[in-house]
């Protein structure tokens, strides 16, 4: 056992060292400087809780960014996961198309965010975009909806660049379904259960842990989302599609206000931790499914 302890320590050391260097130091700096006024080239000056007070009391852009982020987290952790789950259950029927459909569904997930942004920017272009061109084919020859810049459609347009593409959720759930013992399905069939009943009352309850994990993965991905917003709307029109990562970027890189930007960063980390704890509690992640 003593020998094992040595090996365990040895193998953990590189990971711990990397974590300390890359994350721990950054997080300490992030927290420390969130209480300062700090811009590039100057030394941080301690200002107490001023950044946090300004954030909640005065900053309407922060509030808009937070609400948008919260809505996207909610949509991604519910609708997105539901789409992935339904698709996984359909694929699990192993009909003739299942391998083809699984591969096609995966495509959007292997393209970089910037490329997806460009793709949608072209598809939704008011002049030459595919979507408007199709509408023009069916009647209104003057149709020129500016999907990303019109207040009525901007939020939905950005949302549709990520919400339906749930292949990662599908793959994780498919792997979990494969781990359910065949004997359970056989027993259910012998008892006369239909496929729908098997899915509703056996499969889905047994997927609670992995669905919870998918909810965490999908929800927290919205706390990092910036590439597609940057490529398509830049957070506009106005602040209609602004989220907190985009706001952090703008505050730091455009306003050159790193202290304030880090305060928003601290809030975002806190929001993420609360979200993860809440999902873990709701799904009782870690406890047995049986």
């Amino acid at each position: 056992m003593t020998n094992y302890k040595g090996y365990i320590t040895l193998f953990l050391l590189p990971t711990i060292a990397l974590f300390m260097l890359v994350y721990a130091v950054s997080i300490v700096i992030l927290f420390g400087t969130s209480f300062t006024e700090w811009s590039t080239g100057l030394k941080p000056a301690f200002v107490g809780f001023r950044n946090f007070i300004d954030m909640f009391a005065k900053d309407t852009s922060f509030k808009e960014g937070f609400w948008n982020t919260a809505i996207w987290v909610l949509l991604q952790s519910t609708l997105h996961v539901l789409i992935g789950l339904v698709f996984a259950i359909i694929l699990n029927m192993k009909e003739f198309y299942w391998k083809f459909a699984r591969t096609v569904f995966m495509f959007p997930n292997i393209i970089s965010g910037a490329a997806v942004g460009m793709l949608f920017l072209c598809m939704l272009n008011p002049n030459f975009g595919a979507v408007n061109s199709i509408v023009r084919l069916f009647g209104d020859s003057e149709y020129a909806q500016n999907w990303f810049m019109d207040y009525a459609t901007a939020f939905l347009s950005v949302t549709m660049t990520w919400l339906p593409y749930a292949a990662v959720v599908t793959i994780l759930i498919l792997a979990e379904i494969a781990a359910i013992p065949d004997s359970l399905f056989e027993s259910a069939r012998i008892d006369g259960a239909s496929e729908l009943k098997i899915n509703l009352f056996i499969v889905i309850p047994m997927l609670r842990n992995i669905i919870g994990t998918c909810v965490i993965l999908a929800g927290t991905s919205m706390l990092q989302k910036m590439d597609i917003i940057m490529m398509t709307t830049g957070g506009g029109p106005g602040n209609t599609t602004l989220n907190l990562p985009m706001y952090i970027y703008k505050t730091a890189m455009m306003d050159n206000n790193f202290g304030y930007s880090n305060a928003v960063g601290v809030f975002l980390i806190g929001f993420g931790i609360v979200f993860v704890l809440l999902v873990r509690y709701l799904f009782r992640i870690g406890s047995s499914s049986t």
Partner: protein, 334 residues
């Protein structure tokens, strides 16, 4: 060596990370002469020359001569005439302006800057002020209202949110009659991968109404060397890049207007790009000069246009409210 654009110069100066060029210039008066007093003064603060410019921005607008002829118009002398020309172009079946509000709203803001810059002494002073803090002026509000009309009635359907490439493409593909831009675009007009063959023959250049032209010196290069050795090496390279030979190369290969009158286009260049010579002449004849918005405002203001123009056009904010927002954004800069 650092390109000091987009607020980088402020960060380096504030953080004591750059070395001024005063000593180098006094040791080499010939180099100082090649850059010229005006260009040096443009990048001098409190007597210190923080960067050396290697090019002048002289920006008017390009227009499609065929479309102008068909609409029966000539380059406008006043902004009222400019708007009337837009109406005539539209009536003749053409989209008048290649505008864009994405990225830094470059082609749109050149027009906005010119309306303000040619509006009288106050507007011209505003457009020649580094880091203006108050946008709540009658000149800016009036100009925003005019640009709003242009975005609503006289531009392509993709202008809101479009990038520079979209606007340039709309002009080069003869989908719009006018684009505001600098002489560096001239090479594109004879590039058949960007424009139809022979398009360069159809393009004319004009100063903005009020005989105005954006005429400013680029921020250019800063010396950020940490040791004497690297500072000297950076200075050596910057001296080459901004000296007569460097300016000549930039003019011949990049259609960049040099900072020195000593650098003139070669005969071959004149033959290849007659529009470039015309652009220099139009620049010399223009009487009202001012900077581009990008060259005078804080970087966070430059970044805000893409969010504010849709607000203006969709009626979410008035021009007065946009001016106030710009003022607030400028005040946020650290």
């Amino acid at each position: 060596m650092v390109m000091g654009k987009n607020g980088i110069n402020d960060i380096l100066i504030k953080g004591n990370l750059a070395t001024p060029f005063n000593d180098y210039l006094s040791q080499d008066p010939e180099w100082a002469k090649e850059i010229g007093d005006e260009a040096l003064a443009a990048n001098t603060r409190d007597g210190k020359v923080w960067s050396i410019s290697d090019q002048k921005q002289t920006v008017g607008y390009f227009y499609n001569k065929e479309m102008f002829d068909k609409a029966g118009i000539k380059p406008a002398q006043t902004w009222d005439e400019f708007m009337s020309n837009n109406e005539k172009l539209k009536a003749a079946g053409f989209v008048p302006l290649a505008l864009m509000t994405g990225e830094n709203a470059w082609t749109t803001n050149l027009i906005l800057a010119s309306i303000v810059g040619t509006s009288g002494d106050a507007g011209n002073k505003f457009m020649n002020t580094l880091h203006p803090s108050d946008f709540n002026t009658p000149e800016m509000i009036g100009a925003l209202n005019q640009v709003k009309t242009m975005l609503e009635k006289y531009t392509t359907k993709d202008a809101l949110g479009a990038g520079y490439a979209n606007a340039a493409n709309n002009f080069c593909q003869a989908k719009a009659a006018i684009i505001a831009n600098g002489p560096w675009m001239i090479g594109d007009f004879s590039d058949t991968t960007k424009c139809a063959a022979g398009f360069d023959q159809k393009v004319g250049i004009a100063a903005f109404p009020g005989n105005g032209m954006i005429s400013s010196y680029e921020v250019g290069y800063m010396n950020g060397g940490k040791t004497q050795e690297t500072r000297d090496a950076a200075e050596k390279f910057i001296r080459f890049k901004t000296g007569l030979e460097g300016q000549r190369i930039a003019l011949e290969f990049g259609n960049v207007v040099p900072v020195s009158d000593q650098v003139q286009p070669s005969e071959a260049l004149k033959q290849k790009y007659p529009l470039l010579v015309e652009s220099i002449e139009v620049g010399n004849q223009s009487q009202v000069h001012y900077g581009s918005l990008d060259s005078i405002v804080y970087p966070n203001v430059t970044d805000a246009w893409k969010l504010l123009y849709p607000e203006l056009v969709f009626g979410k904010s008035t021009a007065e409210e946009i001016a106030k927002k710009l003022t607030d954004i400028a005040a946020k800069n650290k």
